[in-house]
């Protein structure tokens, strides 16, 4: 018989994903305000926004097709699915085997694909612009992302995230140039993928610089809420992917079955949660340092930025073959 326990952990993780994502964003915004010497709206502002949006009516453009209305649900669902797969609390999640890292990247690709289509659906100049730019960025970021992850998966001889993390934890730690390259590349890419400065600015509707915002311009009410929430989860997930593939230490490694006994697991899980919170906190600070340090770049500087990331990740893979 299948035991419920693993699924319990799975449930906890998904819950954490859903709840922590806005919190993380709130944390980042708060930090940002502090760094810029403003008073922040507080840690829980994102929750309020989402709830508020959920209660609003939906204002839909006349010529919006079913695709436009379907996209938010799909985006949300896919993102949550990814959240169920990435080892955040435990390495032995029942869903971990559903998709390996390539598939996870592909899941994010689905999100992008449909968001871009939705952006074109309503037939505005901005929507098209956003989609076009998003696809351009994506088509450069996605391979770079894959390459960065591949470097790690070459080292750990697997493409499933849990096993990668597992390897890293249990192998003795060596400083690998390839890892360094991969990490650097990964950071750049996550900035681009999650639409942060210097690639995109989540906080602006300044028309000509919009990318992600331009696509979802026409969304409102619960649709917008879903998309925003999914966006937050995406940011959260990228961070946790980074954690899982570069600093997995602290994630619970115990095989999740009752044989070990509930208690040990519970401890390791809760320890995992604490570790997670700490890591997130630091990563948030790092992110903010970057964001306040850099200025948003022109759209046609972005390819160079991403090309750099692509180059770095490829270098990482090469250096694995050459140096190690």
């Amino acid at each position: 018989m299948i035991e419920l326990y693993p699924f319990l952990i799975e449930a906890i993780q998904i819950l954490i994903v859903l709840l922590f994502a806005p919190l993380f964003v709130g944390w980042i915004r708060m930090l940002k305000c502090w760094f810029q010497g403003r008073t922040s709206a507080g840690l829980f502002q994102p929750y309020r926004d989402i709830v508020k949006l959920f209660h609003k009516d939906v204002i839909l453009a006349e010529n919006a097709s079913w695709l436009f209305r379907f996209t938010p649900y799909l985006v949300f669902g896919v993102t949550v699915l990814a959240g169920g797969i990435i080892p955040i609390l435990s390495l032995s999640l029942p869903f971990a085997t559903v998709a390996d890292v390539i598939a996870i990247v592909a899941l994010f690709a689905i999100v992008r694909f449909f968001t871009a289509l939705a952006g074109m659906d309503i037939g505005t100049a901005f929507g098209g612009m956003g989609s076009s730019r998003e696809m351009m960025i994506g088509s450069l970021a996605e391979p770079a992302m894959l390459m960065a992850i591949f470097t790690v998966s070459l080292i750990s001889q697997t493409t499933s995230l849990s096993n990668m993390a597992d390897m890293l934890i249990h192998k003795e730690f060596i400083l690998r140039p390839s890892m360094a390259f991969a990490l650097l590349a990964f950071v750049l890419i996550s900035l681009a993928e999650t639409g942060r400065i210097p690639v995109d600015n989540p906080a602006t509707h300044l028309e000509l610089t919009m990318i992600h915002e331009a696509m979802i311009l026409e969304y409102s009410g619960r649709h917008l809420a879903l998309i925003e929430w999914a966006g937050m989860i995406k940011l959260f997930l990228f961070t946790t992917i980074g954690i899982a593939s570069f600093f997995p230490w602290g994630i619970s490694t115990l095989p999740s079955n009752a044989a070990i006994g509930g208690l040990g697991n519970l401890i390791s899980i809760s320890a995992g949660i604490i570790f997670l919170i700490l890591k997130l906190g630091f990563l948030g600070i790092g992110l903010i340092l970057i964001e306040t340090g850099l200025a948003k770049m022109r759209i046609f500087r972005v390819p160079e930025f991403l090309g750099g990331a692509f180059l770095l990740s490829t270098l990482g893979m090469l250096s694995y073959f050459i140096l190690e």
């Binding site: 204002i59 669902g77 694909f113 989609s131 696809m135 088509s139």
Partner: protein, 685 residues
């Protein structure tokens, strides 16, 4: 009395085609009846062929027979083994769908022009493809190969009153024929190397039995690879493809792009793995590099196109590139004697072949539906069709998702398998590969991402937004939807895309015999080890994927969220566009195909021969406020200038020189004979 066997079935299906051909003249007068009789017959015969193919792959025992016709000492040999069985299945499947589709599509011609030729050559075309995979000796192979080529040539030239169609057909035929000659030569080399007298060396069996010396094997392989690449559209031999596919009727271009290119893949695999068998590493490297170039260039060219069928054609080039990558890897692994990995890459190859057949067929049929409804090929004159063609748009969307390798559809599986193969390659030691593999993986990843961009453009421009056409924005909603046969013809491949996406383990288990026969490696044992639900190509701790669960999850969550959100009634207000408070937006303000691909054009522009003209009408107050603006963009394939133009020009130059021989002066002619005889006498002496 003969017992029923795959071979009997396939002969039956070919007989049905012959029967159809006999029927055609009877109904030539009544076009509608002709359409309703012939295409269903073709569908039946294709279905039978599919059964035969699946069956023969499942049993995995080759059957062969010898017809009594052919050359005096070289009768036609036919053979149905798992490899040919698999490709028979692929061809049969798509031609089954397309035949259903054609019943609806060809009605569009009724009254306008006679479809008799279309029917004849369509049947011949399918028969040719069947025979190609069935033939088991060089001579018969070439005959069926050229039968296929000629038939498709006439199909491309079907609407022959247009000059560009004629040019396309001509280009296609020339490339195809040169390729065929190369294939002929490679068979000649192989037959010569068997050392058998007379014609007995020309049977594939004889070639299978012989161990070829490397020198001859290399010559033969290069010739064959050249020949088949010409058909498959490997860059730089791809130029005919984007010309011919738009020219042909859409059901034909679906077949050409979906399965005719696959016959070339079949040829490469047959010659390399079945006939030659042993090969050095560098063949694989060459194929891999060519595949990478083809893939990346193909998709970049595809993104630049505005004609939807040209776009699809170039994307076929890209897919062929991906398949070649797999073949290259398979060759490499085989030359390193790692049968399991070779089997893995070959499985990826087969999987991608059938996938591409499905979604490219679907997409071309969709393009045909667009053509059928709007009589346009240029995306910039469509737009907003999702409101007018709900079925077509949905099916086209599914095709786009599958081709963009997004889970849970089929495109993802094959791409995923190839990535796995890439990531497993470090286990072999060769400095060359250590540099090649990462590059390969990177370029493949880039390609995959660009495909998504390309099809967002394709679907977005053609189906979404407002009607972009200058005049006649189409009428009421759903008004343009195509007839039922066409919908069914598109629906079935869409379903196949989903099935292939969620049940990979079963399919791989089915097709495992082929790679076992060719490279002596199986992966089904490991692939299905974790249960039918999980695809674990090598080992479950290495990598695993379950399309079914992904699909299930997405459905569940979406439903859940939907229900949750709709528990409380919130109104939906339909309002005009907001667009940042932009005033009076017109459809002309939308992003069009050119503007969509502009960022990528900026990045990769150096690969193309681009001429961009912007002219402001002079009567303006200030250059920044022109009242009219004229923009023109021309994107050319660089390979024309690099390869094809020089060849044609030089041959014309030579012909001018030869023309000098004949000046019309009889004295000069006499001098020729005079000099000839003097020279010969001097030699004879």
């Amino acid at each position: 009395m003969m017992t029923l066997s795959p071979f009997v079935l396939v002969s039956l299906s070919i007989l049905i085609i012959a029967f159809t051909l006999i029927l055609v003249p009877l109904f030539a007068r009544h076009q509608k009846i002709l359409i309703y009789v012939s295409f269903p017959l073709m569908a039946i015969s294709s279905a039978i062929a599919v059964i035969a193919g699946i069956w023969s792959v499942a049993v995995g025992i080759p059957e062969s027979t010898i017809l009594s016709i052919g050359l005096p000492d070289l009768p036609f040999h036919l053979r149905l083994d798992p490899l040919s069985g698999f490709f028979l299945t692929v061809i049969g499947l798509l031609s089954f769908f397309v035949s259903i589709y054609s019943t609806g599509y060809c009605k569009g011609y009724a009254g306008k022009r006679s479809v008799t030729h279309l029917v004849i050559f369509y049947s011949l075309f399918i028969a040719g493809m069947f025979l190609v995979v069935l033939s088991d000796d060089a001579f018969f192979f070439l005959i069926s190969w050229e039968l296929m080529a000629i038939a498709s040539y006439f199909l491309v030239m079907f609407e022959d009153e247009l000059i560009e169609n004629r040019r396309a057909a001509f280009l296609y035929l020339v490339v195809a024929h040169i390729g065929a000659i190369a294939i002929l030569l490679s068979f000649g080399v192989l037959a010569g190397a068997t050392g058998l007298e007379g014609f007995s060396g020309y049977t594939f069996d004889a070639m299978r039995q012989t161990e070829f010396p490397l020198k001859w094997a290399t010559v033969a392989f290069l010739l064959a690879f050249f020949g088949f690449s010409a058909k498959a559209g490997v860059i730089p031999l791809h130029v005919w493809l984007p010309e011919a596919h738009p020219a042909a009727p859409s059901n034909v271009s679906a077949l050409m792009s979906g399965v005719m290119l696959k016959t070339a893949i079949y040829g490469i695999i047959r010659v390399t793995f079945d006939l030659i068998k042993v090969f050095p590493l560098w063949w694989g490297a060459m194929v891999l590099v060519l595949g990478l170039i083809t893939a990346i260039m193909g998709i970049l060219y595809a993104i630049m196109q505005n004609d939807i069928k040209r776009m699809l054609a170039y994307s076929s080039v890209e897919n062929i590139g991906v398949i070649l990558i797999g073949i290259g890897l398979a060759i490499i692994f085989t030359s390193f004697h790692i049968p399991v990995l070779a089997a893995l890459s070959l499985t990826a190859v087969f999987y991608h072949s059938i996938n591409h057949a499905m979604f490219k067929g679907l997409l071309f049929m969709g393009a045909g539906a667009l053509l059928h409804a709007t009589h346009k090929k240029n995306m910039d004159e469509m737009g907003g069709l999702i409101h007018y063609m709900p079925w077509t748009s949905t099916l086209f969307l599914i095709g786009s998702i599958s081709i963009s390798a997004l889970p849970p559809f089929n495109g993802f599986i094959s791409e995923w398998l190839i990535f796995q193969a890439f990531l497993l390659s470090p286990s072999l030691n060769s400095p060359l590969l250590n540099l090649l593999i990462p590059m390969g993986a990177a370029l493949l990843a880039l390609t995959a991402a660009l495909v998504a961009a390309c099809f967002v453009k394709g679907f977005g421009i053609a189906f979404l937004g407002h009607w972009r056409g200058l005049h006649n924005p189409p009428l009421h909603r759903g008004g343009l939807e195509v007839n039922w046969p066409m919908r069914i013809g598109m629906l079935l491949p869409a379903l196949m895309c989903l099935i292939l996406g969620i049940l990979p383990t079963m399919v791989i288990e089915w097709m495992d015999k082929i790679s076992d026969e060719l490279v002596g490696g199986k992966i089904a044992t490991t692939a299905g080890a974790f249960g039918w639900l999980w695809l674990t190509p090598v080992a479950h701790e290495r990598a695993s994927y379950s399309g079914a669960i992904v699909l299930l999850w997405i459905i569940v969550v979406v439903m859940l969220v939907y229900i949750l959100l709709h528990s409380r009634k919130t109104a939906i207000h339909r309002v005009p566009l907001w667009d940042c408070g932009f005033e009076k937006i017109t459809p002309r303000m939308q992003y069009n195909a050119n503007s969509f691909s502009m960022p990528i054009r900026r990045i990769f522009g150096f690969l193309f021969n681009i001429r961009e003209q912007v002219r402001l009408s002079n009567a303006t107050l200030h250059p920044s406020f022109p009242n009219r603006l004229y923009y023109r963009l021309r994107i050319r394939d660089r390979f024309w200038g690099w390869i094809y133009k020089p060849i044609s020009e030089s041959s014309y130059w030579i012909s001018r020189k030869f023309g000098r021989l004949q000046q019309g002066y009889i004295h000069v002619y006499l001098i020729y004979s005079f000099i000839t005889i003097i020279i010969l006498l001097v030699f004879a002496r």
